[in-house]
Symmetry: C2
Subunit: 130 residues, 2 copies
DNA sequence: AATAGTATTTAGACTTAGTATAAATTTAAT
DNA sequence: ATTAAATTTATACTAAGTCTAAATACTATT
């Protein structure tokens, strides 16, 4: 792990991800870059996303869709996906430590990390206006 | 939802998945079919996997890898992946209901389902022989 | 049993998301 | 200024899966 090297491209992509409040895919990120007047090579975007993820500046979300999404919030948190409209929201409560201990004991694993994706129906989809 | 239509191909694939104790990908399933002397079209395997999943006879696992895996155990359960060797084990303890209620309350979602993938190091990788 | 209609399988083209590579460019270090 | 290392670019390629149209199989009705 060498020191952080934020090139112009990486910085631009980091800024974009940190300043949006959703969880764009690589394709969406490229589209937004283009809309902001930038034009980076395909591979640069993927390279930057990996670099920023490895550096811990952003998070890659694998929510079971075909494409990864990226999240500028790096605190430990989880996600909930609306099965009606596809919207993704943050979940800030962590799984109870007691449960994790139980899983570790039963499986004989050292548990380092857990990915949790909830699925359900969001407020707007539950209460459609008209 | 019409009545179950298990064609020869679908039955063969279902049997294969139910009789193995790991979680094969579509590619692995095709390879095993071929080794057993079957030769189904590419699309048929995917079609069958979807059909069987929709019918609730098998489960599709999205563990954050590039390919889905399939599981013959249909009871509600979760998975733990070894980050060293890639091995996947079953996790039978469910997340505490209290936690799910809390998530539902905080996010304003009706929570229907949760996918949980633990990551850690399995017993064999913790205790390598020699 | 023959016919018509529906569903499934097959083969292969196509799509999507992402990786790999080689040349060109930029950055850093002497 | 020169060399070396890292990064970007353009483009080819791969992996996983979907789509489509023709061929085949199954079902229901007479």
């Amino acid at each position: 792990m060498s020191r952080l090297n934020l090139t112009t491209q990486r910085k631009t992509i980091l800024d974009l991800i940190q300043s949006c409040d959703d969880h764009p895919t690589a394709a969406e990120i490229m589209e937004r870059l283009r809309m902001n007047g930038h034009q980076f090579a395909y591979g640069t975007v993927y390279n930057s996303l990996r670099y920023l993820t490895d550096a811990g500046l952003i998070r890659e979300l694998k929510l079971g869709e075909t494409a990864s999404r990226y999240d500028g919030r790096t605190e430990d948190h989880y996600h909930i996906v609306c099965t009606k409209c596809g919207r993704v929201d943050e979940v800030l409560s962590a799984p109870p430590a007691e449960w994790i201990r139980e899983v570790a004991a039963k499986t004989n694993y050292d548990v380092h990390h857990s990915q949790v994706v909830f699925e359900g129906v969001c407020y707007s989809c539950k209460h459609p206006k008209a």
